[in-house]
Symmetry: C2
Subunit: 462 residues, 2 copies
């Protein structure tokens, strides 16, 4: 069995387990009490805060433990916006932030604030210049992840932080995906993290607010954690989180080099082994352990299921794997293929053999899914052509069927002829242009239709 989805959640690091067990006996009392059990709990909490602060690169009194990374993001954004309400009500986020950031932005919008989403390049990264151009005199807060959780692309945090500093805008960095590998460089103002992403226990997030940053906690008052995170402190988990962060950092340099070789291998080999694949995300400026690719004519959910049967746990940003039946907002913002999407994120210690086994299994698995769906083979493009224009009715059909239907008829029109694909599947908006780019056909655009949308493709190559 190979678990390749550490970007969702990492198995508990052995050091986290030891620290958790060791602190269960000492860490259960209320650290605000002055009796001995309370004092012992306080000592553990203080030591954990110092260790975590050192790993993050901040002062202990700048760091609060929250109950999750999501809570850290929610609190951090709300608190920073409120602290800066005199500056204005404009919030800047990148288009590829984690949902906890985007959902916080929605709340801000609903409450009368304004939000700008900075678009990303096809690599998934924002351009520092584009980010800087979005900052306004009334910008209260800017948010940028350290690295993307779906494609691994590292963001230019230091450059954006500098632009924010010049504009006098605090920058909140969601560092959930990268904290295992090192501190976040640059002059950020707030930072969030999540312990279960680095092998710590669930139930622990980090919220760092630099001294001097205006911040006003929202919600009901609670004295714990400098008033920034309500609820009784979860000390054994906090101790385990801090200890495991130190432990993964101690092995980060060696392990990151090793995992980067493995992910480079997958990035290079998958397009050789599997036809019609798009590897997405920045090839160089990326997390060492994470890569993503999409497979044309493949149903993501079926692919994940088959890979699970073959012993590989991976995740996907395909629309069929989301509860809302829309493709991942990250892939959408990048403008890349979303069908048959697979994210591989390797845990620390993944043996090379597991990766080789994955590369051995993948081609047959993808081929089987494609065959089941009746996908056209890449080579069988007949040159014979009939009518100048064809309308494909794919209404009610879900990803990847609209693209498969398109591929099946493209050779039925002559060069210069057009195919209109009528679809009400959100994924088609992303995947039909992506198919055109992969195939070298011309994507003309979309036209409104009585039901769904018509996506127009012109045949320009054989």
């Amino acid at each position: 069995m190979s678990y390749f989805d550490v970007a969702s959640s990492a198995p508990l690091h052995p050091v986290a387990r030891q620290a958790l067990q060791a602190s269960l006996d000492e860490g259960w009392a209320d650290p605000s009490r002055l009796y001995r059990e309370g004092r012992r709990a306080r000592l553990l909490l203080d030591a954990a805060r110092e260790a975590a602060a050192e790993a993050v690169g901040c002062r202990p009194d700048e760091l609060a433990f929250t109950s999750s990374g999501t809570r850290a993001v929610h609190a951090g954004i709300a608190g920073a916006l409120a602290g800066r309400h005199r500056a204005g009500r404009h919030l800047v986020v990148s288009a590829v932030e984690h949902s906890s950031v985007l959902h916080s932005a929605e709340v801000h919008r609903r409450e009368g604030g304004t939000v700008s989403e900075v678009p990303v390049l096809r690599s998934g990264a924002v351009s520092p210049d584009a980010y800087a151009a979005t900052l306004r005199p009334d910008t209260a807060l800017a948010c940028l992840q350290s690295a993307n959780h779906e494609v691994g692309t590292e963001q230019p945090v230091a450059a954006v932080a500098e632009a924010c500093r010049e504009a006098g805008v605090p920058l909140l960095v969601d560092a959930a995906q990268s904290l295992a590998w090192g501190p976040v460089a640059g002059g950020w103002s707030l930072l969030t993290g999540s312990a279960h992403k680095w092998g710590g226990p669930a139930g622990v997030g980090l919220l760092v607010v630099r001294k001097g940053v205006r911040y006003a906690s929202q919600g009901p008052v609670d004295e714990r954690e400098s008033g920034r995170s309500p609820g009784f402190e979860n000390i054994p988990a906090v101790v385990a989180a801090a200890a495991s962060l130190r432990a993964v950092r101690a092995e980060a340099a060696a392990e990151s080099a090793r995992l980067r070789e493995l992910t480079d291998r997958i990035r290079a080999r998958v397009p050789e082994l599997v036809p019609d694949v798009e590897v997405v995300g920045d090839p160089v400026d990326r997390l060492p352990h994470l890569l993503t690719f999409s497979c044309l004519y493949v149903d993501g959910e079926t692919l994940l299921h088959e890979l699970d049967r073959a012993g590989f746990s991976v995740s996907s940003g395909s629309s069929c794997t989301s509860s809302t039946l829309t493709p991942s907002h990250v892939l959408k913002a990048m403008g890349v293929l979303s069908e048959g999407n697979v994210r591989v994120s390797l845990p620390v210690g993944t043996p090379a053999e597991d990766v080789d086994r994955f590369l051995a299994v993948l081609p047959g698995t993808v081929a089987a899914v494609r065959e089941k769906l009746g996908a056209p083979s890449a080579t069988a493009s007949a040159v014979t052509a009939g009518r100048d224009s064809i309308l494909v009715d794919a209404l009610g059909k879900r990803c990847p069927i609209p693209v498969i239907e398109l591929a099946k008829v493209i050779t039925d029109v002559p060069l210069g002829g057009t195919v209109r694909v009528l679809s009400d599947d959100e994924a088609a908006r992303l995947d039909i242009p992506a198919w055109c780019e992969m195939r070298g056909q011309e994507y003309v655009g979309e036209e409104p239709a009585d039901r769904g949308t018509a996506y127009v493709v012109r045949r320009v190559v054989l």
Copy 2:
């Protein structure tokens, strides 16, 4: 060493420890993922939800796990108020709720809602009639704890729930202090709990919302826990919480009878062993393991410190033990003495010998604190009297000094004469009337003064 502060936090129950350790290997993955690690995590989560729901007496789909009891209260009140915003913006709470309830009420008030606080009797209980009279056509939500966390008094939840049902108002019950002992009777609509109060781990709260209760989650959207509790699920802790709740329930009947004997013993013996003590809270309708008393002329912080040195961990609602230097709002609402306040809450399994040792140690400890403070002895009340009226300037002096100064001079005025105590200590407002009640002197009332407040006492007994 005797830990007598389980109402703050209970040591981890052995079953919780076992369940936690057993689920660390299976419960770390994301339960929303469909691969095997995710499915295993989901099974654990579902089983824990069923076990917790059975213990609470609700359907599994009515129960969400939160990251703390505080979070459950915050979310429950905000969600119920928002769900009922068409009914009105009136919130009813008792005056002795946990701070998480009162702080939620503050937020509601700040946002333009209205809040009624139902006063309590000297026992700490609300009167069901008084509670019912506070309900209005625009009442969106009513809150009542199952039992008080500081004095142990059980609230008439079933009667209040019935009044709420008749008025068409949902009732939220904060059951944090009582869930270990049994389900909450009566037709409540929402219920909250906290695992570390019953011997479960920190990091787990319960929020139950009965089917049919209007509820609208507030804050950023998050799909986990039916949208009611954002953040990655803490499955090992949730499993441990559910398992330990079952375990404490299995021993609840026997242990509650045994602990009630021990707390009855303390309630009876303390006033016999220690002069000038007021035992507070309902003597019968109360939690089995918790009791509270206050000692005249005693500094609570010093008393706690001395008891800690003697091996007893207890807590206090005295002003000197709070960060705001005000007495506990619970003691204030009850109108009972707050100085030298001691809360004893016995963990499951407390040996009778520990209680006897406490009773042996307490009298000498209190006497030593009193001696250090120069407190008047109860017997040395000289009958000699001088001026008709005396002004005691206790400005800048903190509890229990103003009461000690009063006691020292009361015999210097003749019967019918008055003592004015000038004090700027919040505790005086509560403790001077309480002293009068204990001594049989007449409390005339308070008068405004240039600095602080003048508390007027008339000598009516020798």
